[in-house]
Symmetry: C2
DNA sequence: CGAGTTCTTGACCTATGGGTCCAGAAAGGT
DNA sequence: ACCTTTCTGGACCCATAGGTCAAGAACTCG
């Protein structure tokens, strides 16, 4: 997962995987069948560890906007602190493989669906709590927030400093 | 440009380029030096043709929010109508090459800067026209809009239909 | 403990990636 | 018309991608 995340699918070679795993090439292929199959497992592992972490952050206690701001800041900070600037593996996979690999695209789609759903729930909660105008379409705001996260994590890959990301986060939360 | 845009950098082979250009391999390398150098030229061409088109759309006449909505809709529609679902080449490049290719990352960064600037100008215009609350930080809203476009164009790569993109666009324009 | 099963490994294989080179075709100068 | 220069295509090159395999090591289990 780490290697695919850092280098992307096409740029990762069997040798890279062998080196990172510290096993022989035969074991690698005996255990996983193919590079493609291993990638899929890696993406699933990413989903189960990383992607779910965001959703759990959103379910904590406290004012909705605080939670949201905190979660976005956390993403931006960790992305920027990563020396390899890997961003989000799901986002990277969407960009790299969505035309050619339907299964990978589908995995990413589902991850996005889940995240969008979590945002929607959060928005509805914010509306009940009076933090967010009840006139807004929670579903649409959920999509907006998912979209913002996707944008943020891609921008984090090329951002020179935290400024633009901070502006995006502040503006996104303020505008709700 | 078309080939790199469709397949990404790593997945594009010299053979692909030779086939698409209809020239011999020798001519290819004689003319462009290396795959990498040709990619950079392709990315520059993309910037000069596609990326500038968005900025020009934003400079048309009429109410600011209408222009914005129209431009976003246009992006979403063309992205979805593309049978290859290539999305935005700059976004794809950021996702694929930002850790490993500083020059490419820099090109993308500059494209993003320009687009963000255009959005900022648009927001300021909207504020003068009374369409957008003058209390908002135009710079931050510009960043937010750039971020939304980046997100949209990545989402367009895996979107099943226009629904989610439409929600994002509507919500984005409405919250301003 | 010993036989059978599973794992591991690095040598090996083929096709292709990315690139060079040269012989000849076109183009250009005079 | 001739020579020079540039352009072109494709044969050729080496390293690597992606994967297989057989032989031995390690683990099971009665």
């Amino acid at each position: 997962m780490e290697v695919f995340w850092r280098k992307g699918y096409a740029a990762t070679t069997p040798q890279d995987l062998v080196d990172a795993l510290g096993i022989g090439k035969g074991s690698l292929y005996n255990a996983f069948g193919s590079k493609r199959a291993l990638f899929e497992k890696a993406l699933c592992r990413y989903r189960d560890s990383q992607a779910l972490a965001l959703i759990e952050m959103l379910e904590e206690k406290g004012p909705v906007k605080d939670r949201l701001r905190k979660a976005l800041r956390f993403l931006a900070e960790t992305d920027l602190a990563d020396p390899d600037r890997r961003g989000c593996m799901a986002v990277n996979t969407a960009a790299e493989l969505a035309g050619t690999d339907e299964a990978a695209a589908d995995l990413v789609r589902r991850m996005f669906d889940r995240t969008e759903g979590a945002f929607r729930v959060l928005v509805e909660e914010g509306q009940r709590a009076g933090e967010i105008a009840p006139g807004r379409d929670a579903h649409a705001i959920g999509s907006l927030l998912l979209n913002a996260v996707v944008g943020l994590r891609l921008m984090a890959r090329i951002a020179e400093g935290p400024d633009r990301l901070s502006r995006v986060i502040d503006a996104t939360v303020d505008v709700l």
